[in-house]
């Protein structure tokens, strides 16, 4: 089976000035998270969509889905975790308990605040996760990356051609992901900021899927303003 996990667990500490998590703010005429879920709803290759939100937003999310998308038994809202990886683990546990995990099961994990993801990116993720076991959506880095450990002086300037900016989806063979996650030491778990890192830590290949510059993440108030502007712009 093919699952999508929409990660909406974050409380948006960087958004500022609002108590509503950024995924529930309005983009155009509906919440950001609804735009994002729709991209997966219309893809008939995806069997189930699991939306992971903070506990106190589960009912709200269910109401929004009912209001904007309608009754859809393939969308399930459950509680996320403290960290991104806890959230990911919750989705895998849910899948295991309710649907079972076979050797071919894959999961596409996607930020709820990336509503501009394209059908092509989702299809490429499905293909790459099936074929390679793990993939990450990236675009080539356009700004020069500088490394600084102390935050005051430059340690090094890596060759930009070798660097990419990570987007989502990140997609995995679920069994492989689960086995790798279970084998992590506590020290390894503590440094995990990214699901793909689980694979690289264990020397497993992660295939690159080409992202899009339009596949932006709405993180700061500016992003939402920008996203709203470009969405309004279409009628000009």
């Amino acid at each position: 089976m093919i699952f999508a996990a929409i990660l909406a667990g974050g409380i948006g500490s960087r958004m500022g000035g609002t108590d509503t998590p950024k995924q529930f703010l309005t983009l155009g005429n509906k919440p950001v998270i609804i735009h994002t879920i729709e991209k997966f709803v219309i893809n008939e290759n995806i069997d189930k969509i699991i939306v992971l939100t903070p506990n106190n937003f589960i009912n709200h999310t269910n109401h929004l889905i009912k209001e904007y998308i309608g009754d859809n038994e393939d969308i399930i809202v459950i509680e996320g975790g403290q960290t991104r990886n806890d959230t990911l683990m919750n989705s895998i546990k849910y899948i295991d308990e309710n649907f079972g995990i076979d050797d071919d099961s894959i999961i596409l994990t996607h930020d709820s605040v990336r509503p501009f993801v394209t059908h092509r990116i989702i299809e490429d993720n499905i293909y790459a996760a099936k074929k390679y076991g793990a993939c990450d959506t990236v675009i080539p880095a356009t700004d020069t990356i500088v490394e600084s450990v102390n935050g005051e002086t430059i340690e090094s300037i890596p060759v930009r051609d070798y660097y990419y900016q990570g987007q989502t989806p990140q997609s995995f063979n679920i069994k492989k992901l689960f086995n790798l996650m279970s084998s992590l030491t506590e020290a390894e778990t503590n440094i995990l900021t990214d699901a793909c890192k689980i694979f690289t830590l264990k020397d497993e290949d992660v295939h690159l899927v080409k992202g899009e510059v339009t596949n932006i993440k709405i993180t700061y108030p500016y992003d939402l303003k920008l996203a709203n502007t470009i969405l309004d712009d279409k009628n000009d």
């Binding site: 155009g28 729709e38 991209k39 219309i42 904007y68 059908h119 299809e123 339009t214 969405l231 279409k234």
Partner: protein, 341 residues
């Protein structure tokens, strides 16, 4: 109506494409384009050779009106996800007494509104015709162009009153090739002669009964009906030659687009009692006709494959630009875009 975000790749100004964010309604069929084909009309926008006021009015706009795709989602239940379909660019917006491809009430993709260069395309179910899985996708990408020839030939059949023994096709480009091929298919008993300028191109018309370079036509040659597939200012000399060679009460079927008004020797049109019929675009019945004809005559694919001269995989807007540049310098054949953007 529920609307979903969609990314569209539009020509912003000549030679400059941009990503833009749009919304599509989910009340029709959602198609993912797979193979697209560049038409001269797209090239005229890309090169900026349309009049400035036309460019100003129409751009930004997604180009391309020839293409096929796969159904992603269908609310109507008519198609299954994964069905291969050819997309019909003409979009009627109201009833009319004429064919919908000539109606003022119709809009056309890549001309009146966005063409197919986008992540997804929303179409009404009657704007799609299902394709058999085994159809060559590169040839299928330009079924729209084939359907234009097909509708012209169908209309010709309705108005021609004199014998169809000798049919002349002017123009040795893509449309001339397709028109000659389908004339031969529909009228196997007729002699199909092709008149062109480029010997290299004419040599590819191996299925017709004769080819002539336009400056080297025998004096005693006569035709019953003519198909002008030349276009631009060269239409004038083609139409002149047609009027010279055509038998009385023949039909002249015009297909070639010109940016300039073309003078026609009306005195001889009157004297010979000729009928001139214009042709542009096509409608659903023509697409269905082409798909059926190709299904029943798979050998046509072999000939049509000769038209596929460039296959470009499109991952980025730069790839799209390169494909247009490559197409521009090709003197024959179609540039096919494998749409991975």
């Amino acid at each position: 109506m529920i609307k979903m975000i969609n990314i569209v790749y539009r020509l912003k100004s000549p030679k400059f494409f941009e990503e833009s964010i749009d919304e599509i309604e989910l009340d029709g069929v959602i198609v993912r384009p797979s193979h697209l084909s560049i038409c001269q009309a797209d090239q005229r926008y890309y090169q900026g050779s349309r009049p400035a006021e036309v460019l100003e009015k129409k751009l930004p706009m997604a180009l391309i009106h020839e293409g096929i795709g796969e159904v992603v989602f269908d609310n109507s239940g008519e198609f299954k996800s994964g069905d291969k379909v050819v997309m019909i660019p003409n979009t009627p917006m109201g009833e009319d007494v004429c064919r919908a491809n000539y109606s003022y009430n119709s809009k056309f993709r890549g001309s009146g509104f966005d063409g197919f260069t986008s992540d997804l395309v929303k179409m009404d179910s009657d704007r799609l015709v299902k394709l058999p899985d085994d159809f060559n996708p590169h040839v299928s990408a330009f079924i729209e162009l084939i359907s234009v020839a097909y509708q012209g030939i169908s209309k010709f059949s309705e108005i021609a009153i004199t014998p169809k023994d000798v049919l002349g096709v002017w123009g040795d480009g893509n449309l001339g090739f397709i028109t000659a091929l389908f004339l031969k298919e529909k009228f196997p008993e007729s002699k199909v002669l092709v008149f062109g300028k480029h010997l290299d191109n004419l040599n590819l018309f191996s299925f017709v009964d004769g080819t002539y370079q336009i400056h080297n036509v025998p004096d005693d040659l006569a035709i019953d009906h003519a198909f002008e597939c030349v276009g631009s200012s060269a239409s004038q000399s083609a139409i002149d030659q047609i009027i010279d060679l055509i038998n009385p009460q023949g039909t002249i079927n015009l297909f070639g687009v010109s940016e300039y008004p073309i003078p026609i020797n009306t005195r001889m049109v009157l004297e010979k009692g000729l009928a001139i019929q214009g042709n542009s675009r096509s409608e659903r019945e023509d697409f269905i006709g082409v798909v059926e004809t190709l299904e029943q005559n798979p050998q046509l694919f072999e000939h049509l494959e000769k038209l596929v001269t460039n296959i470009c995989v499109i991952h980025s807007l730069n790839d799209l630009k390169e494909a247009f540049d490559k197409d521009y310098i090709s003197h024959f054949g179609k540039t096919i875009l494998r749409w991975n953007k």
